[in-house]
Each structure stands twice: as structure tokens, then as C-alpha cells.
């Protein structure tokens, strides 16, 4: 009791940089606004909420940009537990943009079926807030809190269609497994804290080594912690929740989960690996190597067998996650730290743009066909050529065919693998190469439906996508093309050479 009082006595209020926190603050204000509006306006005016939430996100972009342009590159608070640096800014930008697109996707979708839209927007914004925090957290506690902050609303979003059994199932599975995983992770964290006697990542990095008496505990801790996030990024064999949840959840939510929350998981992984575990690469490198190889392969082969488009995309996004993990498997090796980080960030950006595009098309088409089957895309090109071409673009980009965004992302990933000039790297590169071919098996299958098959039910009434969807499609397809043809643009954001330093700061 004594020392507690002593510590309490010497407590001083931390100084808070409100400018650095501006994005989060804006979002907080936005979500409160949504909550209140939802209470006071009547059903007919619900569209206001859409406007508000979308503008919240756009508004939050402003401080992000300003912070990015301000000359002080690193702003650290709570003695390094919450850091705003280029890395976190880029990620926040990504989250906000992805969130904005998701809002666009949702706006028409949530009107179907009489559910309370207010909750939807509220949960969406909350989850986004958690992600923004995740981008800046540099402490076990804040990481944990951010993780739960973004997860718990996501559980509810997945189950948002209350009267839809599938949606419920999706929610429950996601919830139970998610909580279980985070519990395991917490156990690892507790061990980590016990050894390092600090929850601050930088301190952990200092004490955490794979030598010495505590080596075993370290290994255990590292593995458990990584498992927690491997679950988030749905890496095989921690992916099992993803297909079911993606299929059951409302499609915009699926888009959100498969892009934003996955990205959040990767952010956490990156932060941990680069700031907390640099010394213990012998533990996580092989682990991530195996994860990545498994994830790519299993995701692909299972995707080959799907009939439901969303489920197929779910598996595809699993295997894409494998590609993101690829460079991390050599991140600890001399020469590839920077390139690995760059490729992870770039991959996340490109993948976000492309995958959201895919979902936009799926939404537009399913709004007409009312079917989740792949075959429902039959003859799309004949009655909705523009949608067909766009879908082809996105799928080709996912398959990594130049000159589309996905290509440069994969390329950079391979590059950093080979840059390590280690046999592990080469082996993984070969596996990745083969997988990128296999992947075309199912992407090509969809293309075949679109171009070469007749419409399933000779119904060829053209599709009129709502404005919001069109906007989303324009954004995503433009980004996909630009990243592919002028990769420098994307790399400009991903190439944060000093990022490793920025994190450890």
C-alpha cells in the first residue's frame, strides 16, 4: 500500500497535444452527433445520419492532412504511449478513406429492411475511432484497449440484421472466437509485462531477448500476442471465423471487416514487430513465415471451391492477407526492414482500394440479382458493361496483373522478400509466385461468368447503381489504376524510410 501512495503522490497530469488528437476528437464529436440526432429526428430524415457520418470522416481527414504537412514529424504523448508520426498518419488516412467508402457503400444498403440506422452509423464510427487509436498506440494497454474498441462494435455490426439468422450466427461466431483470441493474447501480454516490467513497447524491446533465463516465457508471450492479431488478420489457421462471418454479415460490414479491421490488425502487428520484438526475431520470423505460407495457400485452394461470391471474396481476402504477411516474415533481416514495412503499407492501401471496389460492384449487382451466387454474374458484361469492366479491373488487380494496383503491391512484396537474400525469402517468394497463379483460378472464373456466360435468368435489364455507389466505384477504380500506372504515387505514402525510427521514438 505504501508504495502505491507514493506513486500516487508523485502523479502529474500529462500534457496533451490536442492538435495531434484532432482526428480522434473530430470522430468522437461526429459519433456523438449521430447518436443524438438518431434520438431526435424521425425515420424519414434518417438520411441525415448518412450525411453526418460521411462528413465526419471527411472532416477528420483535414487534421490528418494538416498534421502530415506540419514540420514536426513526430508528436509523442503520455511518455511515448501514444505517438502521432508519419506512419500513423498514413494509416489513419487509410482508415478514414476506407471508412468513407464503406459509408458510401452502406448508404443505400442500410435502407433495405427496417433496422435502426442510427446504431449502424454509430457503431461504424466507433469502430473507426478504435482503429485510429490503434494506429497511434505504442503501449500494450492502449493497443489492447484500441483493439477492443474496434472489435466490440464490429461484433455488433456483424449481427446487425437482427432478424436474420445468418447475421446472428456471423455475429456470435465472430464474437466468441474474437474474445477467445484476445484473451489468449492478453495472457501473452501479461507474461510480457511480467518479464519486461513495463507495458511500454520500447521498454519491452529493451528487455525482451531470446537469451537468458526467461527465454521460454518470452517465446510463449510473443507467440500468444501474435496469435491475437493473426486472428484479426484472419491468418490461417486462425481464419476460421472469417468466411462464415463475411458471408453472414451485411455486405457493407463485410467490406469494412475485410478491409479496415484487417488493416488494423496488420498495423498492430507491424507496430509490435518493429518496436517491441526486434530482438526476438528468431521467434516471430519463422512463425510468420509459416502463417504467411499457410494463409496464401489454404485461402486460395478453398476459394477455388466457393459458389457464393462473398464467401469466395472472403477466402480471397484471406490469401491476400498471406501476401501482406509475406514481407513481414523477413522483416527482421538486414536490408529488408524498410522495404518490408513499405510493402506492407503499400499492400494495405492498394488492397483496400481494390477490395472495396469489388464489394461496391457486388452490392450493385446483388441489388438487382438478389443472389449471392457467382453464377448470378453471368453475362454481366452484356447488360451492364461498365460494371463488368470495373469488376474485371478489380479482380485483375487482386490477381496482380499489370498495369493495375495489385501488381505493384505484389511486386514490392516480392522485392523485399528477395532483398533479404535469404533462402527463407526465396522459398516464400516461390510459394507466393505459384499462389498468385492459382489465385487467378477463381478470379478468372468470375471474369468468365461476366464475359463468356449468358445471364442465368435471361433478365438483361440494365443496372442503375445509386449515386453513392457510383462515387465509390469511381474513387476505388481511379485509385486502383493510378497505383498501377504511376506506382510512385502509392509508394510516396508507403515509403516512410524513417518509419522504424518514427515508431521507436
Amino acid at each position: 500500500m505504501q508504495h502505491l501512495q507514493i506513486i500516487a503522490a508523485q502523479w502529474v497530469a500529462p500534457k496533451i497535444d490536442y492538435f495531434a488528437l484532432a482526428p480522434e476528437i473530430v470522430v468522437v464529436v461526429g459519433l456523438c452527433a449521430v447518436l443524438l440526432l438518431d434520438l431526435f429526428i424521425d425515420q424519414r430524415k434518417q438520411w441525415l445520419l448518412t450525411i453526418v457520418s460521411s462528413f465526419t470522416l471527411l472532416a477528420a481527414m483535414l487534421p490528418v492532412l494538416m498534421l502530415g504537412l506540419s514540420e514536426t514529424s513526430v508528436r509523442s504523448m503520455f511518455d511515448g504511449r501514444y505517438v502521432v508520426d508519419d506512419f500513423s498518419l498514413v494509416i489513419k488516412g487509410l482508415f478514414l478513406l476506407a471508412g468513407y467508402v464503406v459509408v458510401l457503400l452502406s448508404s443505400s444498403h442500410v435502407e433495405q429492411g427496417e433496422y435502426w440506422r442510427g446504431e449502424y452509423w454509430f457503431l461504424l464510427l466507433t469502430s473507426l475511432l478504435g482503429m485510429l487509436m490503434m494506429a497511434s498506440s505504442r503501449d500494450l494497454v492502449s493497443i489492447f484497449v484500441a483493439l477492443e474498441f474496434l472489435s466490440i462494435p464490429a461484433y455488433m455490426l456483424a449481427a446487425w440484421r437482427k432478424r436474420d439468422a445468418k447475421s446472428n450466427e456471423a455475429g456470435v461466431k465472430y464474437f466468441l472466437l474474437g474474445v477467445f483470441a484476445s484473451a489468449v493474447m492478453l495472457y501473452g501480454m501479461s507474461l510480457m509485462y511480467g518479464v519486461a516490467n513495463s507495458t511500454l513497447l520500447v521498454d519491452i524491446a529493451k528487455t525482451l531477448t531470446t537469451t537468458g533465463d526467461f527465454a521460454a516465457v518470452h517465446a510463449l508471450a510473443v507467440v500468444f500476442v501474435i496469435v491475437g492479431f493473426a486472428f484479426k488478420v484472419s491468418a490461417v489457421p486462425f481464419h476460421t471465423w472469417a468466411p462464415d462471418t463475411y458471408e453472414g454479415a451485411p455486405t457493407p460490414v463485410t467490406a469494412f471487416l475485410s478491409v479496415a479491421s484487417k488493416a488494423a490488425g496488420f498495423v498492430a502487428l507491424v507496430v509490435l514487430i518493429y518496436t517491441a520484438f526486434p530482438a526476438s526475431q528468431d521467434v516471430w520470423q519463422p512463425f510468420i513465415w509459416v502463417l504467411s505460407a499457410l494463409t496464401m495457400t489454404v485461402g486460395n485452394v478453398l476459394a477455388l471451391k466457393q459458389h457464393n461470391i462473398v464467401r469466395m471474396i472472403a477466402y480471397s481476402s484471406i490469401s491476400q492477407g498471406g501476401f501482406v504477411l509475406m514481407p513481414l516474415a523477413v522483416a527482421g533481416m538486414a536490408g529488408s526492414e524498410n522495404s518490408a514495412l513499405r510493402s506492407v503499407v503499400l499492400y494495405m492501401i492498394v488492397y483496400a482500394a481494390t477490395n472495396l471496389g469489388v464489394f461496391a460492384v457486388i452490392l450493385a449487382v446483388s441489388a438487382k440479382t438478389r443472389s449471392g451466387e457467382i453464377s448470378s454474374f453471368g453475362g454481366l458484361f452484356s447488360y451492364a458493361p461498365s460494371l463488368g469492366v470495373l469488376m474485371t479491373l478489380f479482380l485483375a488487380s487482386l490477381a496482380g496483373i499489370p498495369p493495375l494496383g495489385g501488381w505493384i503491391a505484389k511486386f514490392v512484396a516480392f522485392q523485399s522478400l528477395l532483398q533479404s537474400q535469404s533462402n527463407w525469402g526465396y522459398a516464400l517468394a516461390i510459394i507466393g509466385a505459384v499462389n498468385s497463379v492459382v489465385a487467378f483460378g477463381y478470379y478468372g472464373n468470375v471474369m468468365r461468368e461476366i464475359w463468356m456466360r449468358p445471364p442465368p435468368d435471361g433478365d438483361v435489364t440494365p443496372i442503375v447503381a445509386p449515386g453513392s455507389l457510383r462515387l465509390a466505384l469511381t474513387l476505388t477504380s481511379a485509385l486502383t489504376l493510378v497505383f498501377g500506372i504511376l506506382p510512385s504515387v502509392g509508394l510516396r505514402f508507403a515509403d516512410l524510410a524513417e518509419i522504424a525510427g518514427a515508431i521507436t521514438r
Binding site: 456470435v172 517465446a219 500468444f224 471451391k305
Partner: protein, 791 residues
């Protein structure tokens, strides 16, 4: 610059002239004509044929001029001086240090063959004006014919092997087009395919041979002569320089010889030639008797030094060439007995004559062989055209001697006369040209020590006489049969169904469901049911010219009358003297000033080292060859053999045509006095049958039947079998290897991945607790492994 050998003198530069310098125009003219015919031929009054004839006439004039000036050149040169060929060449294209040139190489050999080809082609084209009048592909025919002549001429005066190959292949193509000229008939197109394919198989040897020679010779020729390894002069000189590694040059020679086997229809690749008779008669007479088929022989004669060294001619008692030649002579002569189709008789006789040429070349009788090319061209062309004339005017376009001919000597005297002359020439009866060439070959073969093959040659001569007599008898003597007797055409056709002779176009277009070439029918209408008659001038005039030559051409090299008559030897045979070049810079294109070592004086014969040893200085372009001194004794002997052959065959014919009852033997002498002929009418089929029996028993049973069987079943069988096997093999490979193995591995890999997916699916059971179990067990395993590894 090299220092001249001690005793050697500068010689006067050789005479040259416009024709010699511009001989390259000879093939160019027909080539242009070909293009013109293709482009505007159809619009011309005579459907482009006039262009063909005109161009050939021009080439003829040019080559005649060339020949004349060549003679001047030779006469201008001093005794024993090597008369250097007139070589001009232009670089065609270079690549990777290779220089492919085109150019002319005019020497005795090329002059002779040029003249022959141009001459025969001209006559044949004139002949065709009448023979193919009204054919629906008249223009195409002349185009192809002209292109053929162009190709052949180009090959003949080629100064390097690439151009040679070019002409060679063009000929092959044209023969394909011409044999298949009446391609509505499946048999014709198949024959065309067979011919082209067989020849092409031989060409493989040509490709390989040329490549080998190039790489083997190039360095030497560049160094010593400044010539490319493709140039014929270079290769010849290199072959005699003692430079070449014996195995390389041997293999190259064999490879090249394979090519000439294919082209010249030598055993065992001769089977295409008789089938090729499916083509129109002018084609048969031009391509497959007098010119194209001698291309193979020409190749050997052209690169003679290579074969001389490579196959060690004169060195041993036998070599590949003589063996093949010998076999060909006998085999094909025997085959000629059992043919009913007059053209096939001639075809086999051509093969055997080519065999003679090969035999001669193989046995070192270079000059007689070349001379035989010369003479043979005339009389064989004459024979073929004669056969054509018969079928054209007498036998309703049938070539079957037994069914549709006989007793024609009365109705077509000119054809008959020319035929007889040529036959005598072919048999090698004394004053006729064949005697001077063929006999010389046999003679020299013996003289060079190939005695067995001399015997073979004599046997060949005997058989030649025999089968030619048979053919002559069947065609011109006895009573007219079938079509020649004015019977309606249709029974001709019916009879055609029964036997295996190659039908010609009209006999089929008659029962061709949709008259494939109606115009031609109209043409055949003008004589179809008319009585046999002599052909028109356009046909007979060429016949007469040819027969005159068949009679006279022999005197160009009439050895019996002494040196002074051996003009061919003087003009054509390259002299085997060691040549010192004044300047090596003299690459192809300019004719070199040459200096010949004066051969030590005691006798001017066969003392040159060329061929026998390596010249210590200078180069040889031709090996030293021997010439058998002419002996009347030997000549008489061979003449006797020939006459014997003719006589026996004749007597047999008599026997056959006069014997009324086979069982009554010994009465023949009496019945023979009752004139010939009428007994023919009674059961002629039976007599035919009997004739066959007698002939078969007495003359040709051992060989010809066997040979024919061998030919049809083994050789041809092998050929077709090869084709069939290849097809089968390809089917098998395609079905089993390509589709089953290679392709399926690909498709199976896809299936495999899918099945892996199926295997992985159970993990996705949909049950939360199992998910949890998987999650934690994976964690536990990972933790365990990594903890163990890292501590």
C-alpha cells in the same frame, strides 16, 4: 602473292565474251516469263504459252552463244592449261560472318547441261502447245513449266551451293505442281505428293552435306582462294587439296549422294519416278526423263572432287556410287519387262539409264557419264514425246500397249521412224548416239578395274535391248488393238479399271462425275472417235529434230575415230592441272589469270598429281582421270550382246504372235511362214497370257518377277510403310503423350489443387467449438515448437 614453281610459264589470258560473262541471264529470262505468265498470262491471246516458248527460245539462244564462246575459250587455251570457269558472283546477303552469294559458274559441264535443258525445254513447250490445247489450266501449266526450266538452269550455272539448293528445290516444287496437274484425280495428287516427299527426303542429305562442306572447307577456301565455303570452285579445290579430314568428307559425300539418289530415282528411292508418269506426257519427257532427274547425276558430276576423294573413286574395287548405280541398272531394266503402260516402260528405262550415268561417275568415267546425260536427253525425250504422240492421236489418251496399241507403224510413220531411231540410240547400236556414250561408260568402268560392274553394264545393255524391242513390237507391229483399232473409247476406260496402269486424265474425266476439266474434253472430242492418225506438226517436228540429234549427237565425242573426234573431252572435261593463282585477291567475280605448271613433257597423259596426291604447290580443281583407249573388239562384243537381246526378244514376240495352240510345240517354224498378224484377233487375251508365260519363263522370271514383287512389296511397301508408321506414331504420340501425359499433368495440377481444397474444407465445419479448438491447438503447437527451438 606466291613464288611460281620452277618450271612454269605465264599463259595467255583466256578468251571470254559477252555470252560467257552474262550467262546468268539464262535462268533470269524464264523467271521473268513465269511472273509475267502468272500476272497477265490469262489475258494473252495464247493464254501465256507464247511467253513460255519465247523465253525458252531466248534462253536457248543465250546458252547456245555461251556454248560457242566457251568452245572459243577452250580452243584459245593451250594444251594442258586449266581452262578456268567464268565465275561471276554477287553477294546476296551476309549474316554472322556468313556471305551468301549468287552467281554463275560457267564451265564445260554447265555449258553442256545448260544447252541440253534449254533445248529440250523449248521443244517440249512447243510440243505442249498442241498436246495440252484447251486444257483448263493451260496457263498454269506453262507457268510451272517455265518456272521449272528457270530453276533447273539456275541450278546448273550456280556458282555456290546455296543457289544450287535454290534451283534444286524449285524444281522439286514444279514437279509437284506438274505431276499433280490433273489433281482432280486423287491418284495424280497422291503421285505428286509421293514424288515431292521422296525427293524431299533426299534433300535432307543435301542440307546436311552443304552444311558440313561449308564448315569444313570455309577456312581453307577463305585463306587460299578468298572464296566462301559454299562456292563450288572452293569446295572442289579444297577436296583435292589433301586438306580435308577423310571421315568428314566421306560423310559429306554420302549425304550429298543420298540427295542425288532421291532426285535421280536411284535404287532404293526410285519408286516415285514411275508413279510420276501420272503427269502430262510433256512433263514426263522433260522432267522425268531428260532434265530434272539428271539433277542428281549433275550434283555428283558438279562436286566430283568431293566424291572422288570422299568415296575413294579409282581407289578401290567398288564404292557406294557404283554399287547403287549397278543395282539400279539391273533392277529397273528388269522392271521394264512387266509393264503394260508404255510410259512406265520408258520411266524404268530412264531409271536404268540414270543408273548407267551413276555407274560411270562412280567408276571414274566422268566424261562418258556427262556425255551420256547429253545424248540420253535427246533420245529419251524423243521416245516420251513419241509415246505422247501415240496416245494423243492414236489411242485416245491411253498408254496401255496391250490394250490400245499395235500396228501403228502404218498409221503414224513419222512417230514410228523417230521412235525406232531413238530406240536404237537407247540400245546403243553403233552409229547412234547411245553407242558412243553408253559403250564408253561400260568400257571405262572395265578399264578402271570395276570388272564386275562392267558385266552388270553389259547385262543391262542386253536387257535394255530386249525390253525396248518388246515395247516397240507391241506398239507398232502386229494388228491394232483397242483404241488404236478405232474402238469406242469407253471400253478403253472399262479395261482401265482392271489393270493397274496409271490412268491418264481423259480416260477419267470421261466418267468424272462433274466434268472436272470440261474444256479438255472438248479438245479430246476432236479425235476421240476418229481413227488413229499421225499427229500434227507441232508434235512431229520436235520429234524429228530430236531423232536427228539422237542419231547425230554421238559424233561429238566419237572415240572410235580417234582423238580429233573427241570434242567433248576437249571442251567439257576440266583439265586436271595444278593451278597457281597469281593473286589471291581475285575473289569470285573476276576471272583469274592463271598459271599452269607445265607437266613434265615425256607424255601429256595422266601424270598430273591431282586427285592422286596432294599438290605441293597450287591447287587442283579436277582430279586426273583415265580414259580407256577405244577397242573395236570390245565394241563389237557389246554390240553383239545388244543385238542378241533385241533378237531374242523379237523372236519371242514372233513365237507368241504366231503360235495358235500352246500345247502343240515344234510346229512353230511352219506356222511362222503363214504371215503375221491375223492370228492375233483370236483369243488375244490367251495369247497375251501365253506370251507372258514364255517371256517370264525364258527371259525374266528369275529377276523381273522377283524384282517387281520386291519393288512393289518391299521398297514401295517400305516407303508407304514408313509413311503409315509415321502417321501411326504421330497419332500415338499425339493421343498418349501430348493429350494424356503433357496436357493432363497441367489439367491434373488444377484438379489436384481443387482436391487439396476439398481436403481442407472439413476444417471449416461451421462449429464454433471446433474453431476454438483449432485456434488454440495451433497456438499451443506453435508455442511449443518455438519455445523448444529458442531455448
Amino acid at each position: 602473292m606466291r613464288i611460281f614453281a620452277a618450271e612454269s610459264e605465264i599463259l595467255a589470258p583466256l578468251a571470254t565474251g559477252w555470252f560467257l560473262e552474262n550467262a546468268w541471264l539464262i535462268p533470269v529470262v524464264p523467271a521473268i516469263a513465269f511472273a509475267l505468265i502468272i500476272l497477265i498470262g490469262k489475258r494473252l491471246p495464247m493464254k501465256g504459252s507464247e511467253l513460255g516458248v519465247l523465253s525458252m527460245a531466248i534462253s536457248l539462244v543465250l546458252s547456245a552463244g555461251t556454248a560457242y564462246q566457251w568452245v572459243q575459250r577452250v580452243n584459245g587455251a593451250s594444251e594442258e592449261q586449266f581452262v578456268s570457269p567464268v565465275v561471276r558472283s554477287w553477294s546476296w546477303w551476309q549474316s554472322g560472318g556468313f556471305d551468301f552469294g549468287i552467281g554463275q559458274h560457267i564451265d564445260g559441264l554447265s555449258v553442256v547441261v545448260l544447252f541440253v535443258v534449254a533445248f529440250i525445254s523449248t521443244l517440249v513447250q512447243v510440243y505442249s502447245l498442241e498436246y495440252l490445247r484447251g486444257d483448263r489450266r493451260y496457263t498454269h501449266f506453262f507457268a510451272a513449266l517455265t518456272l521449272f526450266s528457270g530453276g533447273m538452269l539456275a541450278m546448273v550455272l550456280a556458282d555456290n551451293m546455296i543457289l544450287f539448293l535454290l534451283g534444286w528445290e524449285i524444281m522439286g516444287l514444279c514437279s509437284f505442281m506438274l505431276i499433280g496437274h490433273w489433281w482432280e484425280e486423287d491418284a495424280n495428287s497422291r503421285a505428286a505428293l509421293k514424288a515431292f516427299f521422296t525427293v524431299r527426303t533426299g534433300d535432307m542429305g543435301l542440307l546436311v552435306g552443304i552444311s558440313m562442306l561449308y564448315f569444313a572447307a570455309n577456312d581453307w577456301t577463305q585463306a587460299n582462294l578468298g572464296l566462301s565455303g559454299f562456292s563450288i570452285r572452293g569446295i572442289s579445290a579444297w577436296a583435292l587439296s589433301g586438306e580435308p579430314n577423310s571421315s568428314v568428307i566421306t560423310i559429306a559425300a554420302v549425304a550429298l549422294f543420298i540427295a542425288s539418289i532421291g532426285k535421280s530415282g536411284q535404287f532404293p528411292l526410285h519408286t516415285w519416278l514411275p508413279d510420276a508418269m501420272a503427269g502430262p506426257t510433256p512433263v514426263s519427257s522433260l522432267l522425268h526423263s531428260s532434265t530434272m532427274v539428271v539433277a542428281g547425276v549433275f550434283l555428283v558430276a558438279r562436286l566430283y572432287p568431293v566424291f572422288f576423294v570422299g568415296l575413294d573413286i579409282l581407289g578401290s574395287g567398288g564404292n557406294l556410287i557404283v554399287i547403287i548405280g549397278g543395282i539400279t541398272i539391273v533392277i529397273s531394266a528388269a522392271l521394264a519387262f512387266v509393264q503394260n503402260d508404255i510410259k512406265r516402260v520408258l520411266a524404268y528405262s530412264t531409271v536404268s539409264q540414270l543408273g548407267y550415268m551413276m555407274l560411270g561417275l562412280g567408276a571414274g568415267a566422268w566424261l562418258p557419264a556427262v556425255f551420256h546425260i547429253f545424248t540420253h536427253a535427246f533420245f529419251k525425250a524423243c521416245l516420251f514425246l513419241g509415246a505422247g504422240s501415240i496416245s494423243h492421236s492414236a489411242s485416245h489418251h491411253s498408254f496401255d500397249m496391250k490394250k490400245d496399241m499395235g500396228g501403228l507403224r502404218k498409221v503414224m510413220p513419222i512417230t514410228f521412224a523417230t521412235w525406232i531411231v531413238s530406240t536404237l540410240a537407247l540400245c546403243g547400236v553403233f552409229p547412234f548416239s547411245g553407242f558412243f556414250s553408253k559403250d564408253e561408260i561400260i568400257d571405262n568402268v572395265g578399264y578402271n578395274g570395276y570388272n564386275t560392274f562392267m558385266v552388270v553394264g553389259l547385262i543391262g545393255a542386253f536387257m535394255t535391248a530386249a525390253y525396248m524391242t518388246r515395247a516397240t513390237y507391241l506398239t507398232f507391229f502386229g494388228e491394232p488393238r483397242g483404241a488404236s483399232a478405232g474402238h469406242a473409247a469407253h471400253d478403253t476406260h472399262d479395261s482401265h479399271q482392271t489393270h493397274d496402269s496409271h490412268d491418264t486424265h481423259d480416260s477419267h474425266s470421261a466418267h468424272d462425275p462433274h466434268a472436272a476439266h470440261d474444256t479438255h474434253d472438248s479438245h479430246s472430242a476432236h479425235d476421240s472417235h476418229a481413227a488413229p492418225h499421225e499427229s500434227g506438226l507441232l508434235i512431229t517436228v520436235p520429234l524429228m529434230i530430236l531423232s536427228v540429234l539422237a542419231l547425230g549427237s554421238g559424233f561429238l565425242n566419237a572415240t572410235p575415230f580417234g582423238e580429233s573426234w573427241e570434242r567433248m573431252k576437249l571442251w567439257v572435261e576440266p583439265r586436271a592441272s595444278v593451278v597457281f593463282e597469281e593473286s589471291k585477291s581475285g575473289g569470285p567475280g573476276e576471272s583469274l589469270n592463271l598459271v599452269a605448271g607445265v607437266v613434265s613433257a615425256e607424255d601429256s597423259h595422266s601424270k598430273s598429281v591431282c586427285g592422286s596426291a596432294t599438290p605441293e604447290e597450287g591447287v587442283c580443281y579436277a582430279p586426273q582421270l583415265n580414259h580407256a583407249p577405244f577397242k573395236w573388239s570390245k565394241a563389237i562384243m557389246s554390240m553383239l550382246i545388244v543385238f542378241a537381246g533385241g533378237a531374242i526378244s523379237w523372236i519371242l514376240s514372233m513365237l507368241v504372235f504366231t503360235k495358235r495352240d500352246p500345247r502343240v510345240a515344234g510346229l512353230t517354224s511352219r506356222i511362222r511362214l503363214l504371215g503375221l498378224g491375223h492370228s492375233f484377233l483370236v483369243n488375244k487375251y490367251y495369247l497375251d497370257h501365253f506370251y507372258e508365260k514364255v517371256v517370264v519363263r525364258s527371259v525374266a522370271y528369275p529377276i523381273s518377277r522377283a524384282a517387281y514383287w520386291f519393288n512393289q512389296n518391299i521398297l514401295d511397301g517400305v516407303l508407304h510403310g514408313a509413311a503409315r508408321v509415321t502417321t501411326k506414331l504421330s497419332d500415338w504420340v499425339y493421343k498418349n503423350v501430348d493429350q494424356r501425359v503433357v496436357d493432363n499433368t497441367v489439367n491434373n495440377s488444377a484438379v489436384l489443387t481443387k482436391s487439396v481444397g476439398t481436403a481442407a474444407q472439413p476444417t471449416q465445419s461451421g462449429r464454433v467449438s471446433q474453431y476454438g479448438a483449432l485456434l488454440f491447438s495451433a497456438t499451443a503447437i506453435a508455442a511449443l515448437v518455438l519455445v523448444i527451438v529458442n531455448t
